[in-house]
Amino acid sequence: MRTLIINGSPKSKNGNTEIFIKKFLKEMKAPHEICYAANEDKLQIANYMKQFDTVIVAMPLYIHAMPGIVMKLIECMEPAQDCGKSMGFIVQSGFMESVHSKYLERYLSSLTKQLNYTYLGTVIRGGSAGIYMMPEKMNKRLFKQLSTLGEYFERKGTFNMETVEEMAKPCKLSKGKSKLLQLLSGIGLGDNMFWNMMLKKNNAINEKLDRPFVDKLSD
């Protein structure tokens, strides 16, 4: 089984998607090729993928869907000539609940069939925006899940649905959890603390609420 991995992150090798891909490949015996949508010609990637039996596209969620560059790549894809090819996806996102990726998942599932590929499913993981800045051990569980997923994929040619389900948790925020999170952000804790820390580090904290594109007078 020849598999091509496509990294759909605009941040290319420097983003979270790359970390997901590397962990997914970690326990595999055979090496796999990776293409980068951000740095390579989209038409060339779309043509090149025809040589492979299986394609896995990994990407960050951007405004409830794929990044613009991934849509441009999708626009170059043509339906497979021969049957028996398959395609799967890995989508990771910032918001902690994975339900935000459902709009994209519905589209990817439909697109795959239109391209005459078998749909292998979409691995979805929320709460992933900070991974590239975190020490390795803070994401031990996630990385284990990814390498398990990869090892299974190499043997069976498909995703292990149990792991997929586990990774997608939480799918939605419970009432209690969203209340708690709201409370925390109200007193300057939670993820808003992270934004403020970064803004301070960049000397931009005083401009955090700037509105550069409206006239000050009419405010």
Partner: protein, 155 residues
């Protein structure tokens, strides 16, 4: 009424304050650098959309003529959506029971969408429409998807 038009197809002229013709303009792709949130709040590293942002925030209505491309919005329009992130704050609200970024500005325009293209199934049409409604819900705009008739375009 102050209007902005974002156009990927058709020629129906609507009087408007600003027009973004996506057939002639290739919007620069978001690089995911987060400068617009964390380094120069509200501003993208690129300035190709500065006039558009001004017009968008000033408009009461934004009319979008969108293509259907591989069953979805085009890559160029998707990039435009990605580049809207500077108009919102990084801070997250959970008040609605789900994560949602807070608005950076006081008001956002109403959105009217017309699209052109075929779908393989009713479900595919729904995927397309649901996506557009969802996006503008998160962008704090009222959004309507309409079919083209002359009367619907009158000012």
């Amino acid at each position: 009424m102050k209007k902005v038009v974002i156009r990927e197809f058709g020629e129906i002229e609507i009087p408007c304050k600003y027009k973004l013709d996506l057939n002639k303009t290739r919007v620069k792709d978001c690089t995911g650098c987060w400068s617009c949130w964390l380094k120069t709040p509200g501003r993208c590293i690129y300035n190709d959309l500065d006039e558009f942002y001004k017009a968008y925030l000033d408009a009461e209505k934004v009319v979008i003529f969108a293509k259907v491309s591989q069953g979805f919005i085009s890559g160029n329009l998707k990039t435009l959506f990605d580049r809207m992130i500077p108009l919102f704050l990084p801070y997250i609200s959970y008040k609605t029971g789900e994560s949602m970024h807070l608005p950076r500005y006081e008001k956002y325009p109403d959105i009217e969408v017309y699209y052109q293209g075929e779908f393989a199934s009713i479900e595919d049409k729904k995927i397309y429409e649901d996506y557009i409604y969802r996006t503008f819900y998160q962008f704090y705009s009222k959004c309507e998807i309409k079919t083209i008739t002359q009367s619907s375009l009158e000012v």
